[in-house]
Amino acid sequence: MKKVLILLAVLAAVALWWSTRTPDWNWELPPDIPPPQVPADNLMNAAKVELGRWLFYEKRLSRNQAMACASCHLQGLAFTDGASRSVGATGETHPRSSMSLVNVAYASRLTWANPLLDRLEDQALTPLLGDRPVEMGLRNGEQRFAELLRSEARYARLVARAFPSDKDPHSLLNGVRAIAAFVRTINSFDAPYDRYLAGEADAISASAERGMELFFSERLECFHCHGGFNFTDSTTHANTDVERVGYHNTGLYNLGNTGAYPSDNTGLFDMTGERRDMGRFKAPSLRNIAVTAPYMHDGSVATLADVIANYERGGRLIAEGPLAGDGRLSPFKSEFVTGFELTDEERADLLAFLDALTDKTVLSDPRFSDPFLN
């Protein structure tokens, strides 16, 4: 009798373990793309991703109840907002432009120039709670998350399934874990360029093909900073053994001929205090770049053609005004931004290639859309 009881207890324990263990998440990636890294304390599960999707679009997580994460990260614009600088819940303008979240699971560092942030769970706290500037401006965050996650049947149901072994699951910590899990699923590997690589020779135009040659040439040097499967040198994934993080001064500003950037946007320098870090920003992924205008960390360049013109020149010239200066002469400029010459046809080819990085699937995939609209 005792033996039977022990056996039953063991079986029950195994069953419990079986039901709560997290199976490997199916990332649905092309065969040559490695899965992203996932923090050991926030493994993926379907309920967590669904919970995160609702919370990503949840406007009650802002001070004015009118702003969600999604307000600055619109799916149709590859999860950017189309503004040069984003505006928060209290009307304050952020010094920076909203970054795309597509493939952010592969980013070795987050935001434009923060070397400390390598987990979406940590990063999410700044837009939610930060006060310089106020973004979503959530007050009493711990309490607000607890109320929301407990009081609504939808959230209560999802939280129980997302965090089955957590004694106090209705926490801000679990809220940002869920949002991070959802955002990690926003992946894009279905651009014409991806299909071209997979063997569909006519997936991109002849012009885009020529643009690709230019992009990967030593003459233009684009790929040094925008290389790899995610078109940025700050890429990491589950099989990486060397961590790669790149920050670059592209000669966008040269205030007073000192190399200075505007004081509210000095990039890596603001984080490290090292002179050599003045104006260094992360090279963003170029996937879907055609739909994420305006460009650069402060949205100060209107079109991709203008971006290319700045690189052709080897740095931007601002002829007059308070920001006047010739970025080409900046002492802090990246060695890869040396300038080049393009014919009109080559310029068109390069733009055609960048266009071929637009993945229409991710821009309209219902898995990433606003669930409140359904």
């Binding site: 935001t111 923060n114 070397p115 400390l116 942030l117 390598d118 987990r119 940590d122 706290l125 700044t126 709670l129 930060g130 006060d131 310089r132 965050g141 711990e142 926490s171 801000l172 910590l173 940002v176 004081s263 000095t266 320098f269 603001d270 984080m271 490290t272 205090g273």
Partner: protein, 261 residues
């Protein structure tokens, strides 16, 4: 059992001449502006924020020796390492504030005779970079955490006039590593305060906002701020008032903001 017996025998031997934690120490803080009290609702210059962490409180005796003050931990604004002093009530100009106040540090000391007081405005490095979402009070206050710089805002203070304003967030900057694994910070930015004449139950510690913002352009009609970033020229004067060399983040001078009254 044997170990406990041994300890019971040894403690009186070792500690025959030590005193116990018998002497309560209450350190009240008051915000002032040009010698007068200032609040969130003061006419003219008003407080727009004033919250800071106090740690390493010590009493100084006549021989210059320092004696630790152990924090009482039954209040929500103190744990055994830090206390938060919150002198804003969320009213008036304190738009981002909270109703709760905590106006004094309470602890115990082993000495009765002393002449002065020493403390740090800051959170010790060993706990400054732990996860704020799982930290215990008073390190669980999201207003005091600096999610993007990592660590806490040791001091947040602000002054608002009818036409202008200045606010400052002081905390460690230039940190290295990644959030969760911070290995050090280039600019520690902790404020060391030494007040040679302080008597419990007689004195209060004043926080002089007019000294803090002297040298900033509070009167030019454009609100400015300092959040401890190396490119922020607006930080230089208030950092000097706090005794910190802005270029290094180290305490090199004598602070002029905290005094005894």
């Amino acid at each position: 059992m044997r170990a406990r017996l041994l300890a019971a025998l040894l403690v009186p031997l070792v500690c025959a001449s030590c005193s116990q934690w018998d002497y309560p120490v209450n350190i009240p803080f008051v915000a002032t502006w040009q010698g007068e009290p200032i609040s969130c609702e003061s006419p003219g210059a008003a407080l727009s924020d004033l919250r800071f962490y106090v740690s390493n409180v010590q009493l100084l005796d006549n021989d210059g020796r320092s004696h630790d003050v152990r924090f009482a931990t039954e209040m929500s604004w103190q744990n055994d390492a830090v206390a938060i002093i919150d002198l804003e009530n969320g009213e008036g100009a304190c738009l981002n504030g909270t109703a709760e106040l905590s106006t004094y540090v309470l602890g115990v000391a082993k000495v009765k005779e002393y002449r002065g007081l020493r403390f740090t405005i800051g959170v010790p490095f060993r706990i400054n970079h732990e996860n704020p979402l799982t930290a215990e009070a008073p390190l669980d206050d999201p207003d005091m955490h600096w999610h993007w710089r990592s660590g806490y805002k040791f001091l947040r203070a602000g002054v608002s006039t009818q036409s202008d304003g200045f606010w400052i967030h002081v905390g460690s900057a230039g940190c290295e590593g990644t959030v969760g694994n911070i290995t050090g910070c280039r600019f520690p930015n902790r404020i060391e305060v030494e007040l040679p004449d302080f008597v419990v139950d007689e004195h209060v510690v004043t926080v002089d906002l007019s000294a803090l913002v002297a040298g900033t352009n509070l009167d030019d009609g454009t609100p400015t701020d300092c959040s401890s970033g190396p490119a922020e020229a607006a930080c230089t004067a208030p950092f000097a008032a706090l005794g910190i060399a802005f270029e290094t983040g180290e305490q090199t001078g004598t602070q002029r903001v905290f005094s005894v009254q």
